[in-house]
Symmetry: C2
Subunit: 172 residues, 2 copies
DNA sequence: TATTGTTATACTCTATAACTATA
DNA sequence: TATAGTTATAGAGTATAACAATA
């Protein structure tokens, strides 16, 4: 897999080819792209709803996976247990989610979104989806947009290989 | 563009379709994928070379764009000016980069990487590229890997549309 | 008046350690 | 012994405000 791809200019200032290039570093391109998605989130959800990115994700995951535990959430998001506790605290104090003791395992607390939480998550997601699509429309076709989502998902699936955690298996 | 894409199961627990889905949120998939790329960076560069992601990116951008200014770097990375000053301080104290007064604009400091900085950046990038490719090999074909880089770059190009900053134009 | 770069400072977010309760 | 959840605390990272120097 040489660096010859598409029609990009792969030459370096000094004219050497085959140089290790930042533009081919996935992590770098992800960070650059995240500048855009972060801005979209902030404008469409962060400011209007007063939700941090993590809060939104936690809330939505609870909505889409009712009855999950804190530990499961922590693994899914690669966040430490104390932090999950804090984020759930904030969501619960706003009446968006609630903790319910588990019947099977008395250590565990099951998470459910309140009707308000469900409504907020749904509204927030719809706003983001619309805004992302609009922001990308000038640069990505609808097909490319869909492909990008698929490829990113595949990257996320490589998580088990890179870190020893057994998470990300539930695709939560 | 309805949610019917590929062969994914687009049904929700309650059986309703067309629900706003987290899996279609670009920002969410980016965050999930970033868990992988962050882990790769940490293992391949962060720990071995003692470089933070921002430090590595700043260093490499200086290597690839000698003579740039701090302000230009700050815009390219969407980082505030005080933070760039701090990161450059750390790189300069390690002898990886140096600040040189500009002849044209006496306010400006031009950035250059030292030979050590160039060598470190090159080694780090090579390690990341190899490790990323290896980590993705089981989940992405070489073609998919290349397409992903292209699509992320296009997303990054949507930056001008989403925020009022005139940055990202130099493709630095 | 705007821009470059710096300093000082506060805030947000995350990580670690220690603990209780349960399995 | 391992896991779920919490608390307390420290650290890393980022942002804001104010400033000096130059354009």
């Amino acid at each position: 897999m040489p660096s010859k791809r598409f029609h990009r200019a792969d030459t370096t200032p000094a004219g050497r080819l085959e140089e290790a290039r930042l533009h081919d570093v996935l992590g770098y391109q992800m960070a650059q792209a995240a500048i855009v998605t972060d801005a979209v989130f902030k404008a469409q959800v962060g400011q209007p709803f007063g939700l941090r990115p993590v809060e939104y994700t936690v809330l939505t995951l609870i909505v889409e996976n009712p009855g999950g535990s804190l530990a499961r959430l922590a693994r899914a998001l690669a966040v430490t247990a104390p932090n999950i506790t804090m984020w759930i605290d904030r969501l619960e104090s706003r009446g968006l989610v609630r903790r319910t003791p588990s019947a099977n395992d008395r250590r565990s607390l099951l998470l459910y979104a309140t009707p308000q939480g469900q409504a907020l998550a749904r509204a927030a997601t719809q706003r983001i989806l619309d805004a992302e699509r609009q922001a990308m429309a000038a640069h990505l076709t609808a097909g490319e947009h869909a492909i990008l989502l698929e490829l990113l998902h595949k990257v996320a699936c490589a998580r088990a290989a890179v870190s020893g955690d057994g998470a990300a298996s539930s695709d939560v």
